[in-house]
């Protein structure tokens, strides 16, 4: 596989260069990583996991990865704090023969062992398609985006555009950009509700955004409208509670576990694909029950991710 040079032996030292460990999604992701590492330790493949937290600062993340290179770890698993800021330090690591697996927020450079992600464009496109079918291709919608200047939020929005163009009956009244959080989303949506008496659907491109939107509708006494979203537990619970017409997908937290697994596989000499495209799990009326049934195992402000196991990982890596 890419970057791997022959002289590294198990058990390996794995570095997990987190961009920001405080958000719950990250905490849960880290949970899957440490769980996976425990498994791999039992198998004698991993000896140590080094975790860093760049506190949201891409510059600090560069420094951390540099330190991991200096410490000569065998593998680095990373969520990029900026889609291209890390390119140079990561290719340095690759040159040193370190297995680099990048997931969720991706870097530009191809000098990595593997990139693992769902397809953000598809995320947006599928959500938009669902909205079109819900509204019969006609109606006024509001689009809720994540923060500006971030690739993920930009990609999801871009993915939706062709669908919107193909359905001119669907009129985008306005858009918002907020942090992926409930309170700012609720705030923004409330203002929009007052300004727009007619809203037929909310094309929300993030989980907490959807919850904020639903809460805003509820508190202003407006009838709920079809809303897209993600697997945020709060949103799923609201969905059930309010009987929403909804659709959700997810960025599975186990991408973290998969990344560690992939890195170790690559170090073990397996040929892993340079890009692992993880299909987007979909939550709809038929599956929501099974997700909510497991809700208790997840934090209240967390994300209910789909099940995963080694079989699934091997299948994904085989492609």
């Amino acid at each position: 596989a890419n970057c791997i040079k022959g002289d590294r032996k198990a058990p390996y030292t794995v570095g997990w260069a987190n961009i920001y460990s405080v958000p719950t999604w990250m905490k849960q992701t880290e949970g899957t990583i440490t769980a996976e590492v425990e498994e791999l330790k039992k198998a004698g493949l991993v000896k140590e996991l080094m975790i860093t937290d760049a506190q949201g600062n891409a510059q600090t993340q560069i420094q951390h990865i540099q330190s991991m290179i200096d410490a000569n770890v065998d593998a680095i698993v990373v969520i990029a704090g900026s889609s291209n800021a890390l390119d140079r330090v990561i290719s340095d690591a690759c040159d040193k023969g370190i297995a680099i697996v990048n997931f969720d927020s991706l870097v530009n450079t191809d000098k990595v062992t593997a990139k693992i992600n769902t397809d953000s464009n598809e995320w947006g496109a599928t959500a938009a398609k669902w909205m079109v079918s819900q509204l019969g291709g006609k109606g006024k919608i509001i689009i809720m985006n994540g923060p500006a200047g971030i690739s993920v939020s930009d990609d999801r929005r871009k993915g939706a555009q062709p669908i919107l163009d193909a359905n001119p009956g669907l009129q985008v009244i306005t858009e918002t950009n907020t942090e992926y959080n409930v309170a700012p989303a609720q705030e923004a949506m409330t203002s929009l509700l007052f300004a727009n008496p007619e809203i037929d659907g909310v094309l929300s491109l993030g989980g907490a955004l959807s919850a904020g939107s639903v809460l805003a509708f509820e508190r202003q006494g407006r009838d709920q409208v079809p809303t897209t979203g993600e697997n945020a537990r709060q949103f799923l619970e609201l969905w059930k509670e309010k009987g929403l017409k909804s659709w959700a997908t997810m960025q599975p937290n186990w991408l973290g576990a998969l990344s560690v697994y992939t890195a170790v596989q690559a170090l073990e000499g397996k040929d892993v694909p340079a890009f692992v495209k993880v299909p987007l799990p979909v939550i709809d009326e038929s599956t929501i029950g099974s997700y909510l049934a497991r809700a208790d195992k997840f934090p209240a402000d967390g994300y209910i991710y789909s099940d995963y196991d080694k079989v699934l990982f091997d299948k994904l890596l085989a492609k």
Binding site: S21, A148, E179, L192, F194, P299, A300, D301
Partner: protein, 313 residues
């Protein structure tokens, strides 16, 4: 004539006037803005900033600045459900514990500033960093939802059509205005803010008042945290972040000197309303994120020109 002129030199009054002006103009030009429900909602949002800025006002009046406000709000919102025992049907125990924690954090800020002589900005910045560490442990750990009835009531109830949050803000405002203008301690804060050395030599205890002001700031940040938890029904990491800069901005827009020693909470109140109003205006404008950001900055600057002049020193 003279009273009118002095009123126009009075920053709180000017800020208030500005709010009224913005509301009137926006109501006539923007659909939905002037609706009673909308204005009430703006006030509700302003309440959170206003309460968080209550402590911030005191700290700034005394010449410091509290950078831990956001973190304290988050910590309170995250911890409250954990400390709301099932046997307490009122939910008041949880609130008391959460407030005690927030107040304790404030006290620790004060102790650092008073005994270790760490400048408040550094002490509170370090405290915010500590609290982040705490959140790494606590957040995502266990499955908790807000079932605390008192908190939900605070976030959702509308006695006589007035949201409980606004009522809480009213109470806080009266308390702070009393404290600043009608209680000896307020005058001491102001004196310390304007000239700590002279105040100390006049028998004002630096230690005691520093402890007090930071403790109060912690308490009010905690109160804001509870309110914001009630309004969102769920705490999450980062819920308090927006309130750090807004609490400072509200204080300064209200005409309080960032250097301390001069100002009043009476200005912070319209300052907070002004901030949420501006944010709401920007939200309904359909523009690209970049342009929205530019508009927001320009509006703040324009408002500042009217209300926030630093007097010649």
């Amino acid at each position: 004539m003279n009273t009118i002129r002095s009123a126009f030199r009075n920053p709180p009054f000017l800020t208030l006037l500005l709010v009224a002006l913005v509301w009137i103009v926006a109501s006539f030009t923007l659909r939905g803005f002037g609706a009673y429900g909308h204005l009430r909602y703006l006030l509700e949002l302003a309440a959170v900033i206003g309460i968080a800025a209550a402590g911030q006002t005191l700290v700034i009046l005394m010449g410091g600045i509290d950078l831990s406000v956001g973190a304290v709000i988050t910590v309170t919102a995250i911890l409250l459900p954990l400390f709301s025992p099932a046997w307490d049907p009122t939910g008041l125990v949880g609130i008391a514990v959460a407030l005690a924690i927030a107040t304790g954090i404030g006290l620790m800020n004060g102790a650092g500033a008073a005994y270790l002589r760490v400048p408040p900005i550094i002490m509170t910045l370090a405290m915010a960093t500590f609290l982040q560490g705490l959140l790494v442990i606590v957040a995502g750990g266990s499955a908790v939802t807000v079932s605390n009835p008192a908190v939900i009531l605070l976030g959702q109830a509308r006695p006589l059509g007035i949201p409980a949050g606004i009522i809480l803000w009213l109470v806080v405002s009266i308390a702070i205005l009393l404290l600043v203008h009608r209680m000896p301690i307020g005058a001491r804060f102001l004196a310390l803010g304007a000239n700590p050395l002279a105040a100390r030599l006049s028998g004002v205890s630096v230690t005691r008042n520093t402890l007090m002001v930071h403790t109060l700031s912690g308490f009010f940040a905690g109160l804001a945290g509870i309110l914001v938890l009630g309004m969102n029904r769920q705490g999450y990491v980062g819920i308090g972040d927006p309130y750090l800069l807004t609490s400072i901005a509200a204080v300064v827009l209200g005409g309080t000197s960032i250097l301390g020693g001069r100002g009043t909470y009476a200005g912070t109140i319209p300052g907070a309303i002004l901030l949420v109003t501006t944010t709401a205006l920007i939200t309904v404008v359909n523009a690209s994120p970049g342009w929205r950001s530019i508009m927001f900055g320009t509006l703040i600057l324009a408002l500042l020109l009217v209300s926030g002049r630093e007097a010649r020193r």
